[in-house]
């Protein structure tokens, strides 16, 4: 079954925003890595994961998110996310991803510095 997925990186006011469109599974591993590396070239202050157009995340996708989170943390970058459905927000809770990623209600909140988010 062909993967309907895309990863887009944007720089918004010094924040690397990674848009994860469609399916988040192992099929997007290379795209996500390249997008992250492209975003790093802009020396961002933090990273935001945009799930507002994500249809499906499986266990391989969770592993990819863990990998990106680990890499960002090792480079001193805070990671936030927004656009998660209630179901995937629950999965972020039970996997404890939400202990390490600020899950925000919207892009504006996610773009704030960590101490300013509610």
């Amino acid at each position: 079954m062909a993967g309907d997925a895309d990863v887009v990186v944007r720089d918004l006011a010094g924040t690397m925003v990674l848009e994860l469109h469609g399916v988040v599974d192992r099929g997007v591993a290379d795209q996500l890595t390249k997008a992250y590396e492209q975003g790093r070239a802009d020396a961002p202050a933090r990273v935001v994961l945009d799930f507002s157009d994500t249809e499906y995340i499986n266990s391989s996708g969770i592993a990819l998110i863990v990998s990106i989170l680990g890499r960002a943390r090792s480079e001193g970058l805070n990671v936030a996310a927004f656009g998660l459905s209630d179901h995937y927000r629950h999965i972020f809770d039970i996997t404890r991803l939400s202990d390490f990623i600020d899950v925000c209600p919207d892009l504006d909140t996610a773009l704030m510095a960590p101490g300013q988010r509610r």
Binding site: M1, G3, D25, A63, T95
Partner: protein, 160 residues
């Protein structure tokens, strides 16, 4: 909502080839099969994730990604639950032990590989999960109970 008959009703039975991504095909067909079966939106989402993960395990670990070896999916509705069985032809296999349970802190510290979330997700999505093996046939049984028909046994819509 009228309570279903006590005997299990087969809502769907189908195979998917063991090819990457076909867990989404299984998920879509199960979604269609359980329409009108009385699941809440939350229960449906949890069942979809569990079916996808069980099918992906069957494709990758049971059938070793051999496209000509199918994963069989059966959807049943019995008196108080929706039951989905996912069968591969990989025979018995060891489940991960407690030491291999995913720990995000260990993963972030590089002490565990990033992968290894599949069984964890299945166990947290459904009310019951069990696996059986008969010869080469390895079956995972996923159960979602109808909360509105529960007898107050403690299920609150999310597995704890």
């Amino acid at each position: 909502m009228r309570r279903p008959a006590p005997n299990p009703e087969e809502l769907a039975r189908f195979d998917v080839p063991s090819e990457p991504g076909n867990e989404r095909l299984a998920m879509a067909r199960v979604t269609a099969a359980v329409e009108g079966a009385g699941l809440t939106e939350d229960q449906l989402e949890r069942l979809r994730t569990a079916v996808a993960e069980a099918t992906m395990n069957g494709i990758e670990h049971g059938n070793d990604g051999r496209a000509d070896v199918p994963v069989e999916v059966v959807v049943l509705r019995d008196e108080d639950a929706v039951v989905v069985t996912v069968t591969d032809l990989g025979g018995a296999r060891q489940r991960g032990n407690a030491a291999e349970s995913p720990d995000i802190e260990a993963k972030l510290a590089g002490l565990q590989r990033p992968r290894g979330w599949g069984l964890f997700l299945i166990e947290h999505m459904v009310d019951e999960v069990a696996d059986t093996t008969e010869g080469d046939r390895h079956t995972v049984r996923l159960v979602i109970r109808h909360t509105e028909w529960s007898d107050g046994g403690g299920f609150d819509g999310r597995r704890r």
